[in-house]
Symmetry: C2
């Protein structure tokens, strides 16, 4: 949405190439250096912070639409994306509070109450995890701001997005116990401390410093390399890589962490 012509066309004709009444919202979790963050955006036409989201093209699969949305904001393609819940409460987005003037200012086009955008919408929630230090946040003409927030310092979100975040976080943590979904958050070669810190941060709880990595190794998910890395005084841990085959097997069949 980078030109006024694009915006005008989206508002007037969007219902022809997007599916009306259906949107999606993405809880994009970002990890780096033992910090867990969430990507939020501020629309020009809406006062508070929201999850990034958008509409689904009539030619797209749901996950493709989610991927397009994630890529538009973060610049990253083909992130691990997981559908976690669909939201459809009749008053999840109260359009009676719709401020026509503010929308006109923001979009440069007058949106009437019979426009396809101003109608009840159910929204499909996806979550993703990425390394936030590798993203390049991108706004567009309808987005005033786009930023990473620490997961423990989130502002109050608009609509039902608080509930979405809490459900997304829960779904992500449950999945983390059953599937190895951490591969995108670590460099190709990493230390046991790094993967230990990653899981502790994502799960929001302490894991045993010795037993947890041993479990990953016992499961066959990690392969030890002959290399080491110097990361400071008295510290030269071995480097590991994921065993690609075991990893994708575990993604398919599931594993159990404890």
């Amino acid at each position: 949405m980078n030109t006024q012509a694009e915006i005008d066309d989206f508002v007037l004709n969007g219902h022809l190439y997007y599916i009306p009444h259906v949107s999606l919202d993405c809880a994009i979790f970002g990890y780096h250096d033992q910090q867990l963050k969430l990507l939020l955006i501020k629309h020009k036409a809406i006062d508070g912070w929201c999850l990034p989201g958008g509409y689904i093209k009539r030619t797209e699969k749901l996950v493709e639409a989610a991927n397009r949305n994630v890529k538009e904001r973060t610049g990253i393609d083909n992130l691990f994306l997981q559908q976690f819940k669909t939201f459809g409460d009749p008053n999840r987005a109260r359009m009676d509070e719709f401020d026509e003037e503010k929308w006109f200012e923001a979009t440069g086009i007058r949106i009437t109450k019979d426009n396809w955008l101003i109608d009840q919408t159910i929204s499909i929630g996806f979550y993703a995890i990425t390394d936030f230090s590798k993203t390049e946040l991108q706004k567009d003409m309808l987005i005033e701001d786009c930023a990473w927030f620490d997961i423990n310092e989130l502002p109050k979100l608009e609509f039902d997005h608080d509930e979405m975040v809490s459900e997304a976080l829960h779904a992500m943590r449950v999945q983390l116990y059953h599937y190895p979904i951490g591969i995108n958050m670590l460099p190709e070669k990493f230390t046991l401390s790094e993967i230990h810190a990653l899981y502790e941060t994502l799960l929001g709880k302490k894991l045993d410093v010795s037993n947890f990595p041993k479990k990953l190794i016992a499961l066959g998910l990690l392969k030890k390399l002959d290399e080491k890395r110097s990361i400071g005084a008295h510290r030269s841990p071995h480097l590991y890589v994921f065993d690609k085959e075991k990893y994708s097997q575990a993604l398919k069949d599931g594993v159990v962490l404890s």
Copy 2:
């Protein structure tokens, strides 16, 4: 949908009180006597078997809409209903194969290609479990047939409903390991053999005849009564009830079966 006037109104004005482009489908599993069945329906306007489903009223929450649909078919209200996935592939229901004449015959009203019903739809999948011996299947004017099928002898289903069933079954079984969702399938007072058979059937695998019930008791989910039941030669097992408090606690927080 029990009069021609209702059908006409639904076809012509349904988009005013239902959300267009969004439907829901319910995989209703039925258990009784160590048999697991699935409820299927045959629409008059469609050749093969389908999951029961319908549209969402603009005033309804998603789960309320699902509940209404389940009640319309089975006569049972307030079943345990669980959203498991939303389906939105662009070619999940190929409306180019829509047979206008057949629809006219079935519905008594001519549906043109610009009708709200003939457009791309994403569908929200729910599953439920009930005791099929307690249901009273109900058709309506648009439904030719409605019946329970053994889970191992399902016909090929229309649209993407085969995939829905497989996803629903998987979701139900995963949940069964984590939450006690069997309460509706047993009489209020039941024997350890009965709950053992229930779980074996739902999970589709053998569970130890002695250890499995012990686990349920150890978790505190079951309370032993002073009563027994005579169910045949040499058989007078104790009766048990669910501990309501522990049960709802486990529904909320989760438990782990193995």
